[in-house]
Assembly symmetry: C2
Homo-oligomer: 131 residues x 2
Amino acid sequence: MSATIHDRRNTVQKEAVKEALETAPGFISAGELHHRLNEEGTAVGLATVYRQLNALVETGRADTINVAGGQLFRACEPGDHHHHLVCENCGVAVKIDPPSEDWILAAAAHNGFTVTRHVVEVFGRCAACAV
Amino acid sequence: MSATIHDRRNTVQKEAVKEALETAPGFISAGELHHRLNEEGTAVGLATVYRQLNALVETGRADTINVAGGQLFRACEPGDHHHHLVCENCGVAVKIDPPSEDWILAAAAHNGFTVTRHVVEVFGRCAACAV
DNA sequence: ATGCGTGCAAACGATTTGCAGAGAA
DNA sequence: TTCTCTGCAAATCGTTTGCACGCAT
């Protein structure tokens, strides 16, 4: 638990992490992002990558999902619905429109549940990766 | 990667882990399960708990979800649909029937994706835990 | 000048694995 | 007996944190 603030200062690293995240094709791990940044020439510490990534998630400018082996991040607009179609091969993530998540609320209500958050992640192969 | 077998031998621990998992109210962590087993008097090593848990998942007799801080397990029937309503407070998990996951397939098809697996997890508060 | 943000390395918690011994077949 | 499974402890891996310094304000 830790209210890790709002932006107070602008730094090169902050911008670098944010941009690298937005440039990434799909979900990307903190380590991978760190790796890319350093290859790009922008030296950023791994700790900073994590700190910025978490800050972005907290402020709603990034999205995160947990998979075996760690968590993956993806840039997204604040208030975004967080539903994706993720390619297991190339990592591309396509946003899925929320056709009807009423059934979730309905199912919840039916069981006396109050929904606080829900995650819908669909994994598969994108057209390019499908053999 | 690792084809970690099928059952070859029956052991007390194997049964203990499986039963403890089935007895648990909702999703439970490996550590928590290990803790309970030892309290129940059934001494089982943590490593074994992990090994059995993974074996169960691989053979489809258990379900797992990844959350911050680790993965949680839950017993389930092979071929089960893996959709739950999880109470963030007491951990109870209610199975949600798949009213229409056609939209998932539709969205996938629309983007040229081939779906291999999808996860739908809804978190909230059950009636008892709702304030 | 004032502190927030960064980098490094140590700390951490969860999960995995090597190895020798116990128990199932 | 044979060979798998268990237990323990050490090893990993991803992520977080403490601390001193640099840079944005």
